[in-house]
């Protein structure tokens, strides 16, 4: 178990360092000058050069990488070029939107997907299964921004139950803040639930064909008990893997939904920073996300060990 853990940790660290180099290098290669973007079409070349100097953009590449990476080690993420505030402040403002949103969406997706997966697997090949999987196929296929707009028209414009978009901030109260996250969470959760349901179903079907399931059934265990106690547990590994990936996606890959609901989330911060060539923000936020994804994967790896005792005992 300890070896397993240490190995995972070492891989995580190496990934982080490599990611920092790739992120930095890629952003240096893409064309676009943050100083020119800030000054617009009417500024002279001299002025752009002056601002580049003020922003520290004229230092050599290696020096800037070391300065930035050194800052990251001491948890100093630098200052945004455009906003001129510490990056960590920007991230903190966005995480309070993105993290709850991701968690709600993930919870919704799990609550919908696991029962549907169980239901379908139990009725493998029958009408119920076909209908459920047809619905799941639809859930994957429907573009989420369109689905989001339909939700807005129904619940915000017509029924006026929730706001059409925006985020009032947690300071406005827990209820108003949650209300503004409901529709985006549903819009995010549905396609994820569809994918998760399909994975759960196929993992379960595979497990249900195993000999020990037949044995369990043969010794007289009711079908329901076999499904829950023996099959589901063994089908959990692919399901957990997908869940881990989905969480990472929900944390930062939700730019389209954030735009439709004009939520100030992490995805939009990165997107805006890229279009404004606020390189330091992109670099630092991407690194934080890489760290988050690695942490989640580590957790998933650990949870494998919880689900599967063989991984615990193996040296």
């Amino acid at each position: 178990m300890t070896v397993y853990l240490l190995k995972r940790l070492a891989i995580a660290l190496i990934t982080l360092v490599l990611a920092s180099m790739v992120v930095f290098a890629v952003l240096e290669i893409i064309p676009g000058d943050p100083a020119r973007l800030m000054l617009g079409l009417n500024a002279s070349a001299d002025q752009v050069e002056l601002l580049r100097n003020q922003m520290g953009l004229n230092a050599p590449l290696a020096a800037r990488y070391l300065h930035w990476a050194g800052g990251l080690l001491s948890l100093d993420f630098g200052r945004s070029y455009t906003y001129s505030v510490p990056v960590i402040e920007l991230v903190r403002e966005r995480v309070v939107v993105s993290l709850p949103l991701a968690l709600i969406a993930l919870a919704l997706s799990t609550i919908i997907a696991i029962p549907v997966g169980l239901f379908s697997a139990g009725r493998h090949g029958r009408a119920g299964d076909t209908i459920a999987m047809g619905a799941a196929q639809l859930g994957v296929a429907v573009p989420n921004f369109w689905f989001a707009l339909m939700l807005i028209y129904l619940f915000a414009v017509w029924l006026r139950l929730v706001p059409a978009g925006g985020f009032p901030g947690w300071s406005a109260g827990v209820w108003p803040a949650l209300k503004s996250l409901v529709l985006p969470a549903i819009a995010l959760a549905l396609p994820q639930a569809a994918i998760l349901a399909r994975v759960t179903r196929s993992a379960l079907i595979e497990v249900l064909n195993e000999d020990y399931i037949r044995t369990a059934r043969a010794k007289g265990l009711p079908y329901r008990a076999v499904l829950w106690r023996h099959a589901l547990r063994n089908a959990m590994i692919p399901v957990l893997t997908i869940l881990g990936l989905q969480f990472a996606f929900l944390l930062a890959g939700t730019i389209i939904i954030e735009n439709v609901f004009y939520l100030p989330g992490l995805g939009r911060l990165v997107f805006q920073a890229i279009t404004q060539r606020d390189l330091i923000v992109v670099e630092s936020v991407v690194m934080l996300l890489v760290a988050a994804v690695i942490a989640v994967n580590l957790l998933v790896d650990l949870s494998y060990a919880v689900v599967d005792p063989r991984l615990r005992s193996r040296q």
């Binding site: 064309p31 079409l41 500024a43 915000a156 059409a164 978009g165």
Partner: protein, 493 residues
């Protein structure tokens, strides 16, 4: 006792409900598409900065009015010396910055000197280039001496980049703007909204609104539902031109189509063969069907142009008849240029819909005359880098939104790569001429030359669609500058 309390409470409730029914609303949520990178109009070119702060939080010596006219602002009046070089501004007295400090001539000197200093990164530093000295005559009088007469000086001082700031707060305006305007900054929830509230110490006519929130709605498709749900009550720059039809028939909303200063053009690299040939550029101009472009890229809104001037401008000369849509003529001209088999070129398109949609239409129109355009979509950062700075392009589409900017064609090293000494002379003359009639003649000649040379493909003036709650009034109809002046905005009930 208990009964009394209940009755009193009920009476109070009725009263409260009654008064609120009679008093008009004083709060407003305005939708904007782009978030300003920071809140200092003197330190960035982003139009979104002015959209929030111009005339609301910050004021200049002069200001630009709803129809592009120059109005007095912090300067109540001015006199100009006979040689046209010395401007003496008489300032309003009793003006306070939002932090409580007094405004006087020292602040004017500080602001102008700061903007034109060597280390200044003011995005429109050119506005101040003619200034020689700024002298404080007395606390309420400032004398600005120019190196040479400049006809546009008063207009220039009305730009957002020329607003007056206080020395104590100039460095922190990016985060916490402090101006002299009728609204003061309250809060900025990054990525979400910026809130202004009424300033109690304002020197001028008081505003009707107590609170104005600028909410950032980045997705055009979200604008209509935001209005319909009542979350946002006004989009002075409505981003979704196709969505205009959806709210146009709705009595709850007012839709106002106005003009901007945005000349939308098919820019050409005048030094890149075969675009360096006049016949080729003219052929392209003949190949363009402006009506179809406006219909497809701008929901049918927008006025065709034949040169680089807004049809709303007094100096406008209609030159749209010079190159009517004529495929035969275009082919003939290409033949004259020795290109009867057409040629290949790239068309780099920045993100706005007018460029991406317009680009596809233009590519198909040019294909009809044998010109094969390869479309290359680019982001703004790439566009600025490759097209604008390095001039690595054949054709591109962009809207030049700066007001009165026909002089860009005379700038050395500008991305059109256009060089015409006659045109340069006219612009130089124009800068020194203050006689209105003579200015109009010169501007007319300038437009004519650009059209004759077919420097670029002149397409149309970008429309401004404003949509707001029908109970609101006081918004600008046109956009002579990119701003949301809220000083006259009020709820009528």
């Amino acid at each position: 006792m208990k009964l009394w309390k209940t009755i009193l409470a009920a009476a109070a409730l009725v009263l409260a409900a009654g008064t609120s029914a009679f008093a008009a609303r004083t709060d407003l949520v305005i939708g904007i598409t782009l978030e300003p990178p920071h809140l200092d109009p003197t330190a960035g070119a982003a139009a979104a900065i002015d959209e929030v702060l111009y005339a609301n939080v910050f004021e200049g010596l002069t200001r630009i009015g709803p129809n592009g006219e120059v109005l007095p602002d912090l300067a109540e009046s001015w006199s100009i010396s006979d040689d046209g070089k010395a401007y003496t501004f008489k300032l309003h007295t009793g003006v306070k910055f939002h932090d409580g400090t007094d405004f006087n001539a020292d602040d004017v000197k500080f602001s102008l000197d700061r903007a034109r200093a060597d280390n200044s990164v003011n995005a429109q530093k050119g506005l101040f280039a003619a200034i020689d000295t700024v002298e404080v005559v007395d606390p309420a009088t400032v004398k600005v001496t120019l190196k040479n007469p400049q006809s546009s000086f008063l207009y220039n001082m009305g730009w957002g980049d020329a607003v007056i700031v206080a020395p104590e707060t100039a460095d922190t305006n990016k985060e916490k703007p402090v101006g002299t305007g009728p609204f003061k900054f309250q809060s900025w929830a990054k990525g979400s909204s910026i809130t202004l509230i009424k300033s109690d110490t304002y020197w001028g006519a008081p505003v009707s609104l107590d609170k104005a929130e600028f909410r950032i709605v980045p997705d055009a498709a979200a604008a209509v539902p935001a209005l319909l749900s009542g979350d946002v009550q006004a989009f002075p720059f409505f981003p979704d031109l196709d969505g205009v039809a959806q709210v146009q028939g709705d009595p709850r909303f007012k839709v106002v189509i106005g003009a901007t200063e945005g000349e939308t053009i098919l820019s050409m690299n005048n030094k890149k063969p075969p675009l360096d040939k006049l016949e080729v550029r003219q052929a392209i101009s003949f190949a363009l069907d402006r009506k179809a472009i406006i219909d497809g890229a701008s929901a049918g809104l927008g006025v065709p142009i034949g040169s680089h001037m807004s049809p709303a401008s007094k100096a406008y000369v209609d030159l749209t008849g010079l190159y009517p849509h004529n495929v035969e003529k275009a082919r003939e001209l290409l033949k004259e240029a020795g290109l009867e088999n057409g040629f290949k070129a790239t068309l780099k398109l920045p993100p706005p819909p007018y460029a991406r949609l317009g680009g596809e239409i233009i590519a198909s129109q040019l294909r009809d005359v044998g010109i094969d355009l390869q479309i290359v979509p680019v982001e703004w950062a790439q566009w600025l880098d490759q097209v604008f700075t390095k001039k690595d392009y054949d054709l591109t589409i962009v809207s030049h939104t700066e007001p009165n900017d026909i002089d860009i064609y005379s700038r050395k090293d500008y991305y059109f790569n256009y060089d015409n000494p006659t045109f340069d002379t006219i612009i130089a003359d124009l800068n020194l001429t203050s006689d209105e009639a003579k200015r109009m003649t010169l501007l007319g000649e300038a437009q004519k030359i650009l059209a004759d040379d077919a420097v670029v493909g002149f397409l149309y003036e970008l429309p401004k669609a404003g949509v707001w709650d029908a109970k609101l009034e006081g918004f600008w109809e046109n956009a002579p500058i990119q701003a949301n002046d809220l000083t006259k905005v009020k709820w009528t009930e």
